[in-house]
Structure formats: C-alpha cells, structure tokens
C-alpha cells in the first residue's frame, strides 16, 4: 500500500513538474502577444503560453505582491525597471549568453542598456517601441502642440490621460526639459507644480481623462473627441478608418516609449522565456507582431517585411529630424513618482 502511494505521489509530482516545464507565463500589455505567434511558438517548442494582460503600474504591483513570482516573463517599459528593482527586487538579471543579441536593433538595445542596468547587471531587453503625440480630426481641430488641447475653441472635445507621460508632454510643451531635472528633485517638483497648474486650468477643456485605450478610440470614432494626446499607431489605425483623423508630432517633440522583456525574480521557466525572446525577435515573427499590434518591433531586419501602408504612415510622420527629436524616457529615480502623484491627485481634485 505504502509503495503504491509513493509511486502515485511520484507520478503526480513528475507529471506536475513536466507540465510546469512546458508552460510560459507572460505578464504583458493588451495585444502584445498575438494568438498566431503563440500558436507558432507552441508548434515549434511544445511550450504552452499563458498571457495575463496588464499595464506598467500593475505589472510592478503584481510582481511586488508576490516578490516576483507567478510569471516567467514581464514586459514593463524601460524607464520603470531599475527603480522598482532597487525598491522591491522583483526581477533577475538577463543572462546574455542565452539571447541572440544580433537580432536586436543596436540603437534600441543601447537605450535599454543605458536605463535598465543596475549594479552592472542588465535587467531588460527591448521588445516594442512607439511614440506619444497628438491625434486630431484635422477637419474639426487644428493642433500643433500639446498646449493646443487647452484652447477655448476645443472646449469639451479633447482628452488626455492623467498619468506621468502627460506631465512630461506638457512640461516639454512649456519649453522645459523635465528629464534634465531628474537629478534635482526640488527643481523637478517646482516644474511639476507648474505643469499641474496648467493642467488644472485646462481641465474644463477636457471631456474626460481616458483610462484605457478603447475609451479614447471610441471617443474619437464617435466624434465626441476631436483632439487628444495619443500614441502613434492608435492614430494610424484610426486614420485607416477615417482619413481626417491624423497622428501629429507635436512641435515640442514626440515622447518615445520602449517596452521590454524582463525576467521576474522568482519565475520558474527561464529557459522558455529565453526561447520566447529569441523566437519573437526573428525578423519574420517580429514583422508579424508589428502587423498585429501596430507598434514597431525592436528586432533587426523587419522593415522590408512591414505593411507598406504602415511604412508610408511612419515615414510621413517621422522624417529623420523628427526621429532624432524623440524624447526617450530616462530611468525614473526614486521619489519622483511621489511628486508626480501628488500633482496628478491635485489636478484630479481641482475644479
């Protein structure tokens, strides 16, 4: 009897372990992991992929709650890695010997290396990037910079998101460079107060502070919103439905975001995570992902494989000078988000 029990327990245990070895749990953004890419990956490796949708803040909070367990791969933005890592220790360093670095665009890899390295160890690799700028229905609204969203003739027809990118955008629009003040909390707080005052004054102009992408997309589609701060490919996909809706690079420059691969500290299947990273960075796969998500991959050699329409939209929006003028987010030093939080709370409560 005891022997049978032992054999049963062993069988169950090994079955459980074998199954765990075959699973990759990804914590990522909506649309970032297309179903057809998962299917191709499962076919090639036999590893099943489990996707949990999230955003930057929730990725960090979820991993913090478990001490970095529960997921094998996470996709936070590159500026949100060293801060939470220092505070909560939720990631483990990338083992570069497991990754085919040739597949990454060197310029984007450099940005991540600059911002996601802590104590000499690299904690992330680039995955997708894009920019935030303005989207407007050009027949009904002429906008050239973020500040135009606060113009009286657009009252009740604009939308922004009450999060930190908006603070950065309006700081640049006011002719200041918030990133250069990252090291000087006092000056940074003063600048944020100033931006907060601008946003509070602008609040009457805003129809709603959008919280998710569908809310904004529906607002623009229905015509309730004529101009908004928005990410590039959202604007381009709306443009395919209605040519009057266009993505506009603000005079003060677009804000560049770059989302990454990072390994949660207590992930169980690093091998599968590395296999996934190498798989999704192959040019053909990366092009497929870009087509499905709409955002640009950090992989090398995808350009010839992209949808010609998206290519045309990209080259029209970003001539070389505009590409150079993209403000990339540097890593956020500790304490700044608290300052920003207070300012955002105050804007939300202002009347």
């Amino acid at each position: 009897m005891r022997q049978i029990c032992a054999i049963l327990a062993l069988a169950l245990f090994t079955a459980g372990a074998a199954q765990a070895a075959q699973k990759l749990r990804i914590l990522t953004w909506a649309d970032y992991v297309p179903a057809d890419v998962i299917a191709a990956f499962e076919k090639e490796t036999g590893i099943t992929v489990e996707v949990t949708l999230s955003n930057n803040e929730e990725i960090i909070s979820k991993l913090r709650a478990t001490g970095g367990a529960g997921y094998d791969l996470a996709q936070p933005s590159q500026d949100r890695i060293t801060g939470p890592q220092r505070e909560f220790g939720i990631y483990k360093p990338i083992d570069l010997t497991q990754v085919n670095l040739q597949q990454f665009q060197p310029a984007l890899l450099d940005i991540v290396k600059r911002n996601a390295t802590l104590d000499g160890k690299l904690y992330a690799l680039p995955y997708l990037w894009g920019t935030d700028g303005l989207v407007a229905n050009v027949k009904r609204a002429k906008v050239a910079d973020y500040g135009d969203l606060c113009r009286a003739d657009l009252k009740g027809k604009t939308s922004i998101r009450l999060r930190r990118p908006t603070l950065m955008a309006f700081a640049f629009a006011a002719g200041k460079d918030p990133f250069s003040l990252y090291g000087d909390p006092k000056a940074y707080a003063a600048l944020m107060e100033q931006v907060g005052a601008t946003l509070s004054a602008c609040k009457g102009n805003v129809k709603f502070f959008y919280d998710n992408k569908d809310q904004l997309l529906n607002g623009i589609r229905s015509g309730e919103i004529v101009a908004a701060m928005m990410w590039d490919t959202g604007g381009w996909s709306l443009n395919r439905e209605n040519p009057d809706v266009q993505f506009i690079i603000p005079r003060s420059g677009a804000l560049g975001w770059l989302d990454t691969f990072a390994l949660p500290a207590r992930g169980r299947n690093d091998a599968a995570a590395y296999a996934w990273i190498n798989f999704t960075m192959r040019p053909a796969m990366a092009a497929r992902i870009t087509k499905s998500v709409g955002s640009f991959s950090a992989a090398n050699g995808t350009w010839p494989l992209l949808d010609p329409r998206l290519k045309a939209q990209f080259t029209a929006a970003f001539p070389d000078s505009a590409l150079k003028a993209i403000h990339w987010y540097p890593a956020i030093p500790p304490g700044l988000e608290e300052i920003e939080g207070r300012v955002l709370d105050r804007v939300k409560a202002a009347n």
């Binding site: 929730e58 505070e87 229905s222």
Partner: protein, 293 residues
C-alpha cells in the same frame, strides 16, 4: 461519569468542526490581512527596502486638504445615495409585501432581481451606452425636440448617484419586505377606524415597525456604496473622485502600500463611525437590527 463526559466532549468537538470553516475564513482572510495592513499603515519608507515605524501616512491625510475633501465627498454622496435608495425602495417593498397578491408579488420581486443576473460591470457599461453623448438617451432627447444638440449625461455626480442607487436597490428592498411582511394588517385597519390619516399611520405605525429593516437596509447600502469602486470610476467624470479610487491609486499606481493601507483604515473607521451614529440617532442596537432581518 465517563459516559456523560464523552458525548459532551463529542458535541463540543462537532461544534468546533462545524464552525471551523467560518473561523478559518474569518481568521485567515479577514483578520490576518487587516493586521498586516495595520502594521503596513504605521510605517514609512526611509530608503530603498528600508522602513521605519511612523504616523506619517495618517499625517499626510490630515495635512493635505485634497484627501480630506475626497473623503468627505465620498461619505456625503454615500449618505445621499442611501437616502435616495430608501425613498425608492420603500414603495416597491410596500407594494410587494402588502398590495400584490400571490404570484404578482413574486413576479414583482423577480423584476427587482433580474438586473442582478448580470455582473455589475456589464450593468454599469449599459448605463454608459445609454447616457454617453452619442448614446441612446441623448439621441432620443434630440429626436423628441427637447434638446437641439446631444447633451452629455455621463460624467456627472448625478450620474454616479443614479448608478449607485440602481446597484444597491435590491439590498434595500429585501430587508424592507421582510420587516413589512411581519406587520399585522389589522393594526393599520384599526388605525383607520380610529380616524388616523395615511401620513400618521406611516409615521407612528409603519415606520416604527419597519425600523430594523430600514436600518439594516441603510447599513448594507451605505457600506456597499462607500466601498464601491467600479460605478464611481466608470460613470464619474474628471471631477468625481471616490475615496476607493485613492486607495487603488496609492496601492497600484504609486506603489505606496503604506499610504494605501492608512487610507483603507480611515475608510473602515469612517464606515464604522457612520453606522454607529446612524444606530444611535435612530435609537437602535446593532445586534437587534441584524437579528430582526
């Protein structure tokens, strides 16, 4: 002696066994997390992964009028929503308990219940489709010639109240029905015979009799409303912040668990204080109210 001791021990063991799931639930999922949160709320970050005991989180709340305002606003709007729910639920409960005969009564009750077959999220999204500027109701108003342009009915405080009342109606109707059903009809007839008017009867017979039901309904609705997150965030606009949203923001967006925990305890304190004040005001005891419903 041993013969009588064994069954008593046995009975006690059985009682313990029967209570065990509830006690485990209470201890592991309610008491323990609250203690953890209490400890969390009493500390402060002094450096990376370094924390010290402090009252800073509570001080922030009292020092910054911003959080105060949201707190008071949430409490005030919850009271208004509770009173509105009571006003709306009372006639419904009266009709179901006293006027409807046989199947009509249960039918009416089912009508009240049906909206709760779908989740709160779906119900709230339904309100959004009805009320948004390009939605059903504003379109209807234009077609009927009442307004020239579609008006935005979403994102107002009144919209939040509508959503909250709708969400909590059932929780008021049920205790009201059960307390009204036990009211003897002959009391009302006798009052009429003695020449009392409708208002007098309501004031001196119906309401005193239904008081425990009213109080229980109000307590449940008030707590549900105060702790609601979904309805105020979805229906409320740029100006309408609910205190639960503050707690979510502190925990999830700001990574400031300490502040979030302190806010949570303040909300717990507020709801306890309000319930106690309500009981005191109506001269009732908590145990009584809960037993009679």
């Amino acid at each position: 002696m041993p013969e009588s001791a064994a069954p008593r021990w046995h009975a006690r063991f059985m009682l313990g066994l029967l209570l065990a799931p509830a006690l485990l639930w209470l201890g592991a999922l309610i008491v323990a997390p609250h203690l953890d949160l209490a400890v969390l709320s009493l500390r402060e970050r002094v450096g990376p992964r370094q924390y010290a005991a402090s009252l800073a989180q509570y001080r922030t709340f009292f020092a910054d009028p911003l959080y105060w305002h949201v707190f008071v606003r949430t409490a005030w709007m919850s009271v208004v929503a509770t009173l509105l729910t009571l006003l709306l639920a009372f006639p419904i409960a009266w009709v179901i308990a006293k006027l409807a005969r046989g199947r009509a009564g249960s039918l009416l009750f089912i009508v009240c219940l049906i909206p709760f077959w779908v989740s709160e999220t779906v119900r709230t999204l339904g309100w959004m489709i009805l009320l948004r500027e390009s939605g059903v109701l504003p379109g209807l108003l234009v077609r009927l010639g009442i307004t020239d342009m579609p008006v935005e009915l979403l994102y107002h405080d009144a919209t939040i109240l509508v959503g909250l009342v709708y969400t909590s109606l059932l929780f008021m109707v049920v205790p009201l029905i059960s307390s009204l059903e036990s009211l003897d009809n002959s009391l009302i007839e006798a009052a009429y015979d003695l020449g009392a008017g409708g208002f007098t009867i309501l004031r001196s017979i119906v309401i005193p009799h239904a008081a425990p039901g009213i109080t229980a309904g109000c307590i449940v609705v008030f707590m549900l409303t105060l702790g609601n997150y979904l309805t105020p965030t979805l229906l409320g606009g740029k100006n309408s912040e609910w205190f639960t949203e503050q707690i979510y923001n502190q925990f999830i967006v700001r990574f400031n668990w300490e502040q979030g925990a302190a806010f949570g305890f303040l909300l717990l304190g507020l709801s306890t204080a309000m319930v106690m004040a309500g009981l005191r005001l109506t001269g009732q005891r908590f145990g009584d109210v809960m037993r009679r419903t």
